[in-house]
Symmetry: D2
């Protein structure tokens, strides 16, 4: 019937630490394997069905792609929760593709992120607001983003689809930072290199990508509807910084899923740093429940996204 829609349960993803924020920006940012594991496990307990994970060097919190570091927290999270473990393939804008793929290819997880295009990706203006940095690497790291490109060429993407998707049975969180990234995704669908169900992580508020105006959620939704059909994909929202909770809430009203976590925003409310990822999970959950929306369990998320299962991994 034309005017009736049913709303599925909402998948909460949680991106624990990422590679964009630096230790100076929040003392609550998980840096060590222990901290990452603790925040991830607490987020899962609070209701996150998917845990999106990056690693950092425990010495100084610098982003790392070292499989040994991942090994220090991923199995521990697997043992403590039944959440879907989703490993980044984006790493940081300073890593090579080979570095970015090292751990995913070893771990063969149920899900990995996959960034759908090359782009400028920067938080360099944030450096102006910070006078004292905890670590030496931080200031040049943040300022240097002004001149860096987040590399994801068509060939890179094709490669990841082959070695992780086809060869490992990993499915993807397709990170789309701009409308053109949806067209890139459609290109690979047209080429027969991607099969559904698609999980589209639409991203708002990163300098270099689509801005955080609420109207953009409708732009992404409408474009995805046109390219894939409303039933051909799952929509999810990632709002950067202070736009996190408002945009996630709006996205859920629009039938989407949500992603929280300190990778995406260090805040819990206006002017108030989040003490943990779980705080953000609990907050979005309260809002979703006020809106009569239900939260998907990890297994419900697996079914919705067609994942291979928690036992079919190599960690």
């Amino acid at each position: 019937m034309a005017t009736t829609t049913t709303q599925d349960k909402v998948i909460i993803s949680c991106a624990v630490t990422g590679s964009v924020h630096t230790p100076t920006m929040s003392e609550h940012l998980a840096l060590t394997p222990d901290q990452i594991a603790e925040q991830a496990i607490e987020a899962a307990e609070a209701g996150a069905a998917i845990l999106h994970l990056h690693a950092r060097d425990p010495k100084d919190g610098r982003p790392s792609a070292d499989p040994k570091i991942f090994d220090a927290f991923v199995p521990r999270i697997r043992d403590a929760t039944d959440a879907v473990i989703n490993i980044t393939t984006g790493g940081s804008t300073r890593m090579t593709l080979e570095e970015r793929l090292a751990y995913p290819l070893q771990a063969k997880p149920e899900m990995c992120s996959l960034n759908m295009g090359s782009m400028n990706f920067s938080i360099h203006p944030a450096a102006r607001r910070i006078a004292e940095w905890k670590h030496e690497w931080e200031k040049p790291y943040v300022e240097g983003m002004e001149d860096l490109i987040f590399r994801n060429t068509f060939r890179d993407i094709k490669h990841i689809l082959k070695v992780l998707g086809d060869d490992c049975g990993t499915r993807f969180e397709f990170e789309c930072y701009d409308v053109g990234h949806l067209y890139n995704l459609a290109h690979f669908v047209d080429e027969g290199l991607i099969k559904g169900p698609l999980f589209i992580q639409s991203i708002y508020g990163i300098l270099g990508g689509l801005g955080p105006d609420p109207e953009n959620l409708v732009v992404m939704r409408t474009t995805a509807d046109r390219l894939f059909g409303r039933d051909g994909y799952r929509f999810s929202i990632l709002g950067a910084g202070r736009h996190q909770m408002p945009l996630l809430t709006m996205g859920a009203v629009m039938g989407g899923n949500v992603r929280v976590g300190l990778e995406d925003s260090l805040y819990l409310a206006k002017g108030q740093l989040a003490k943990s990822c779980a705080e953000q999970v609990r907050k979005i959950r309260r809002i979703l429940e006020e809106l009569s929306l239900e939260i998907a369990t990890p297994d419900e998320a697996r079914a919705m996204l067609g994942l291979k299962g928690r036992d079919a991994v190599a960690f």
Copy 2:
């Protein structure tokens, strides 16, 4: 600066009883002057800055335009709260324009609703779900809407703008049920018959008007931006029935104000009737506060909307 916006405080309007729902549909619907006054006052105490009011015949809950009935609750509400009192000029689809204007012209309130076009306006499919009606008038009233037009011709609107706006200093909640109603509003602005600040109540989910799809909020917002400029109007959201809380929440994320009340929805959550308008006020308020939004007081609402003041009325 191009990409920075500040969010104003959010005005909560509360439409206490309206003329669409009938007593059978909810035992919590305010019908008598006492009930209307009590629910209105409680809503104001909960945070509603504007109270949108209709009257009903206390005998059987039938919509009424009788000034004597309004007289039995409006002054009482005025004495108990400092909320802005907003009297309908829409009345019900079965009243003549003269009837609809009788009390507003007597009361000269700070604010009246003004419907920006003629349209079909019906909840006749709801009658199918009701087997036993409390009052005889209800079933033909609801079923008969299938053949009724909510009349608001250009001449009617011009008349109201003159006799209430120009002559009484009343300002308007411009109720826009469809995109064309925004163009009608622009027509009167172009003709010099309306001056800002405009308060646009955008309405979703009434059969005959714009549907409740979330995308429509962006359509209305974008159209109003184009016609009036973002700073030329205040945006507000009215979502009918089960769409109330989701659409209001989305509207607030988009920088809009919100309208709750049992006129618009009898529900508090999925499958759960609201016991009072105040319950809905408290709910939207919790959501707004989760989103770091602040609630406007009645006097802040007066300043935002350019109202003449609570003492400049005739009741």
Copy 3:
């Protein structure tokens, strides 16, 4: 494949005379049966596949619903062309529904227009620009539209769907003057009272309905996509007045069909009255051909719209 679309041939509808414009506004407006027949036949020869027809009183050009007048030109057009004959059920805003249906029910045409909602519908501001009127009826007719409603209640529409659609096999040009009219259409589809393929005539620039901003074509297109699916309807564009050619052209780029004719615009170019409907047909055809678009023949239009055939009528 996600990103490939094929463009169908374009159906040109031509609305010969309508009921909105009056004789004073253009000496080229067809008023008598002879004039209507001649302009219709010439338009068909120029490439119009569908002829949308109203009648006027030959004495003074006043809109008429008299079947005898229709009888004076409809069979003549049928004999001279193989175009689809489409009879208005809208008539004029001053006719009763019974009057509006008199000739369609007699003629049982392949196609009738069907207006999907009640609304204000007015060109009263045009009266200010005219100092001398040819006929006495014209000025009050045009000025009076300010206070008139174009009546099409849910019950009216249901009635037409039954007596013309179900009983005569007539299919409809669903005239949608606002976004809510698409929802009304979806309501009847949901109720099982309308079956596809739908032919949606989307209308821009009538005071009382959706304005002529080009953005609105995308609003209507996107809403129809969401409600009916891109393959569930045929999209067509009617642009009022000076917006006719630009909006039709834009609509064709968007995959839509087009409607021309002096009912919709008296002009051919900026400041230049059209001498005939055929001039407008030839103009849009030149533009479509510059854009590598092909024109549908009447029989191609019949196949695209699922019509019963030119012999299955009662005239």
Copy 4:
């Protein structure tokens, strides 16, 4: 007034040869200085107010940034026309920024293109349709785009704004291939590094950027309206390949300017190669004139865009 807009004259830009297409794809592509000069001059005579120019190595048609090659045609074009000369700073995806800027910094033209972000930019699927290539460089060049990034970091853009904009008085054709590029532009406006009037070249149909769906023109228009205000920028349309004429036409209806030329499309109509850029200019001009739109002269374009004048250049 809210609902009235006036349409400016339309600026036709012509991009003569670019760096994307290769000699095998069309024998009409200008490769030598003589051919570039001839096509540019003929395009200006046909109505192009702005000529967007790249250079190619006359030996084999390979894209070149060599100032000596530019010197062989730019002064000749200047002498033969009064069109605005606009030099690319994009060059090709294989050139360094230093190479790309060599000639613009020497020539200090009235206008340069400036690409507003890094992105994948590829026509590699086109290589599959070509069996025999004229030159050895072409196949690896086209296929290799699959792995290349069009580099325009924030620091690159800031540099160009400084050395060409501030230091040479050159103004820019801001090439926006995706919605995020508009936000990048807004970022530089917010930083005070760009002053209006902005000339936004919005681009559709390049693999890696926004797709060619007509809806996207409204997305870009609406986003630009929100970020810069309707009066804060001039909108222009570049449609790649077969989408060129339809999207340009639609853009003009929306109040935009248009860009033609064999850089953007090798075709004149469906299946028919353009024999020259001027053919495309003449075609869009015919369409614009059918739509009652007027063409801007070079001096009118200079006034609309605030250019420094044809004598204030260094060639």
